[in-house]
């Protein structure tokens, strides 16, 4: 069976590297991943702004594009949340029982870290990223999907990576989709506080599981000439050393995680490829 990658419209058009990283990462872990080319957007921008009717054609298109896949993997907490929680709302609103049924029968949608940890049972994905990193847990990952510490566990297992605590990490960055322009001043006030916390960590890279939030925080960090780079979690997890000629030793932080991973019934881990990914 094959998983369908919902790359999300924002990644597709603005951050294609994230999608490529997910493909690299999943293949490295032995997953057969496909990109259903018929996909467009999950409809979240319309739903969250109140345009439910406008989301209906997107929902129909999404259901058709992903029918028949074993699972849908999404490198975005907010789009995964939209598929899981909002699609039913849209279907119910348009009063088509067939559409409601189709939503109920659609393949399960997983945010990337849920898929890695829960379905594949992997915490150490064999990544190498020798940088000082801080992590922003995006609101929809944190509170809508409750991904908990999965992203952190994945990051802690990355060799060379030094994870530093982000102050007030679980506070919203202020992006909020159209909130960022409808209430631009409040959004920027929230984002500036987030950017200040990021700078306080003196991290080289800010990592999150949603490029939309990163575009907002990163846009402020860039305007402030802070020098902090923003990167999607998938890109960090896809990074490897140029040459690996010995079996990787789990780091102290990932020993427990790896032990747990080996207990679960995920597919066997593919050997680490030699050569740079990007």
């Amino acid at each position: 069976m094959t998983v369908g990658l919902l790359v999300t419209c924002i990644n597709d058009a603005l951050f294609p590297d994230t999608g490529r990283a997910v493909v690299t990462l999943l293949r490295r872990l032995g997953v057969d991943v496909d990109f259903p080319a018929a996909q467009t957007c999950c409809g979240q921008p319309m739903v969250n702004t109140g345009y439910l009717d406008e989301a209906v054609p997107l929902l129909r298109n999404h259901l058709e594009a992903f029918a028949g896949y074993e699972a849908v993997v999404v490198p975005s907490g907010s789009c995964a949340g939209s598929v899981r929680h909002q699609h039913r709302l849209v279907a119910q609103r348009c009063g088509d029982p067939g559409l409601v049924r189709a939503v109920e029968q659609a393949p399960p949608a997983y945010e990337l870290t849920e898929y890695l940890v829960d379905v594949l049972g992997v915490v150490d994905v064999g990544a190498y990223f020798p940088h000082r990193v801080t992590y922003h847990p995006t609101c929809h990952s944190l509170r809508m999907l409750r991904v908990g510490d999965r992203p952190r566990r994945l990051l802690e297992a990355v060799r060379g990576l030094r994870l530093v605590e982000l102050p007030a990490a679980d506070e919203c960055c202020g992006f909020g989709g159209t909130f960022a322009v409808k209430n631009a001043d409040t959004s920027v006030a929230m984002g500036s506080d987030k950017a200040r916390h990021v700078r306080e960590t003196q991290a080289e890279v800010l990592v999150a599981g949603d490029n939309s939030c990163l575009m907002h925080i990163g846009g402020i960090l860039s305007r402030e000439r802070s020098g902090v780079r923003v990167m999607h979690l998938a890109e960090v997890l896809a990074s490897t050393e140029a040459v690996i000629d010995e079996p990787a030793q789990p780091t102290a932080g990932s020993a427990a995680a790896s032990a747990e991973a080996s207990r679960t019934d995920g597919p066997p881990r593919a050997p680490r490829p030699a050569g740079a990914i990007r």
Binding site: L14, T40, Y51, R143, E171, C172, F179, N183, V230, M231
Partner: protein, 516 residues
């Protein structure tokens, strides 16, 4: 429950009195407040206000988190609270009748008020019937909601607020900015100024050597209020809970001023929203645990006062209960929105809301500020006919922190999105930039062919920009600075990455998913 006003808002460092009274003496009202984005912009410019709010909400947030963590079965309590309220709302007619019967039997007079005007008329008539020109008040959101003080003033009756924070707001000719801590936006030096300037006009003056020490401020308020408690013939209250089974009304508070009002005057008039009901006495068990921990971060509130009708020779000898609808049955009819009627006015959602923390309560332009206000106000007042009201469901980034702390599990983000769809539907047919953009996006994302075509255009633009844009974001990607309207709303403060020359979709089809 506003003792926190004296704790949190007065401990803050002195700030210049920039938060001016919102209206002239007498009738401060939210009427005329601009839509949320505009009001918020003004509040955001007040850096000291932001610091004060961040400190105050941060303090309460910490206290709440600590005492909630002590309760092992907190989640079960929340579920119980939500279930009890839902059941009550499902059979509201039955429980209201039961309450009326029990109260009447206990010697109280029950009145029914469809709207604010009716409720105000009932209270004014009772006060007038006793030939009084003043009433003392227990802090009550319902009476603020109906504008009772203004209605009484129009009838020549002065209403004295006795809750410390409400007193500060009233004497300052100001508006409340928080459900629990109405004067959260004021600091102690401002409070001192207000007391010195205004107390003498309203009764016993503040001592001339009054300092801004919280204990001194509280003592001045105590002396000032004591005179009013002893003189007033009529008191007005709300109720936190109304027990249908026993006809018991309950007020929980921190200061004891409410209890003075509830016990000293001869006549007591309680204005109670019809959603305040719980079926049985035992149900209070759940809510008296949920409320204080969620609101003040206390294990238990210092004063819980309960009354039911009249006890000869003890307490008020005439008790009136005004059961207030004022839009609540409309909310009840809304399948998604009705959960807002579970609200027990704890204000935990305000204290965790990143939007409230930065904009303050006045920006919401309504009696109920913060996340709960952003859903309750539009539902009580109806959407589609007031730009300010319609702006409230959008005054949220949908981060979900409010839902997480709500003691009765109101899914505020869900209701916000639901209300946004009602606002959009109410405005369908009228031209708007946003509507046009959403329709265009819906068309473009309707098929992958159109999406791919749009991405191709973006890729072409990228090739041009790549040659002209000098600026680079960390990591090397080219970035755009400030751009003209309408994208300026985004780009005024945020750089934008230049779109890539090739979309993911194009890359996948060109390389067969990286296989060639």
């Amino acid at each position: 429950m506003s003792e926190l006003a004296s704790e949190s808002s007065t401990r803050r460092s002195a700030r210049s009195a920039e938060v001016a009274p919102r209206a002239a003496a007498g009738g401060a009202t939210f009427l005329g407040t601009p839509a949320f984005p505009i009001a918020a912009k003004a509040a955001l410019a007040d850096a000291q206000l932001r610091r004060n709010l961040a400190h105050a909400t941060g303090t309460i947030r910490g206290k709440r988190a600590a005492v909630v963590a002590e309760v092992a079965n907190w989640e079960e309590l929340r579920l119980a609270g939500a279930a009890l309220k839902d059941r009550t709302l499902r059979h509201l007619d039955t429980y209201l009748t039961q309450l009326e019967t029990a109260l009447t039997k206990a010697g109280a007079t029950v009145h029914w008020a469809r709207d604010a005007a009716e409720a105000n008329r009932i209270v004014v008539d009772i006060a007038r019937g006793h030939g009084t020109d003043e009433v003392v008040k227990v802090k009550s959101m319902a009476t603020v909601e109906i504008g009772l003080n203004e209605a009484l003033a129009d009838a020549g009756i002065t209403a004295w607020e006795t809750d410390l924070a409400e007193l500060i707001v009233q004497l300052g000719h100001d508006l409340p900015s928080h459900i629990l801590v109405p004067a959260i936006h004021r600091n102690r030096s401002e409070v001192r100024e207000i007391f010195l300037r205004e107390m003498g006009r309203a009764g016993r003056p503040a001592p001339p050597d009054l300092t801004d020490n919280p204990a001194d401020l509280a003592a001045a308020a105590r002396e000032h209020l004591r005179e009013k408690f002893l003189r007033a013939k009529v008191a007005v209250s709300g109720a936190n809970f109304a027990v249908a089974e026993t006809g018991t009304l309950a007020v929980v508070e921190s200061e004891g001023n409410g209890r003075m009002c509830l016990t000293l005057p001869e006549v007591l008039i309680s204005v109670v929203g019809i959603e305040k009901l719980v079926p049985t006495w035992a149900d209070l068990d759940v809510f008296l645990q949920l409320l204080p921990r969620s609101s003040t971060g206390e294990r238990m509130n210092p004063y819980t006062s309960m009354w039911s009708g009249v006890t000869p020779g003890d307490g008020p000898q005439e008790v009136h209960v005004v059961l207030l609808d004022n839009g609540r049955t409309d909310v009840l009819a809304d399948e998604v929105g009705r959960q807002a009627l579970r609200c027990i006015r704890c204000s935990a959602c305000l204290n965790v809301c990143p939007v409230y923390e930065r904009t303050g309560g006045h920006s919401y332009g309504s009696v109920y500020p913060g996340p709960i206000g952003a859903i309750l106000t539009p539902m009580l007042r109806g959407v589609g006919h007031d730009e300010q009201v319609d702006s409230l469901p959008y005054a949220s980034s949908l981060c979900g922190a409010c839902f997480e702390v709500c003691p009765v599990r109101i899914d505020i983000p869900e209701v916000l999105v639901h209300l946004r769809s009602q606002v959009v539907d109410a405005h369908r047919g009228r031209p708007s930039l946003q509507g046009a953009a959403m329709k265009a996006a819906s068309w473009m994302f309707g098929t992958s062919a159109r999406t791919a075509a749009a991405e191709k255009l973006s890729g072409l633009g990228s090739r041009v920009l790549d040659r002209t844009v000098r600026r680079r974001a960390p990591g090397g990607r080219r970035a755009l600075g400030s751009l003209p309207w309408p994208v300026s709303a985004w780009s005024d403060a945020r750089d934008t990455p230049v779109p890539p020359p090739e979309s993911f979709r194009a890359w996948w089809s060109r390389t067969d998913g990286g296989r060639r």
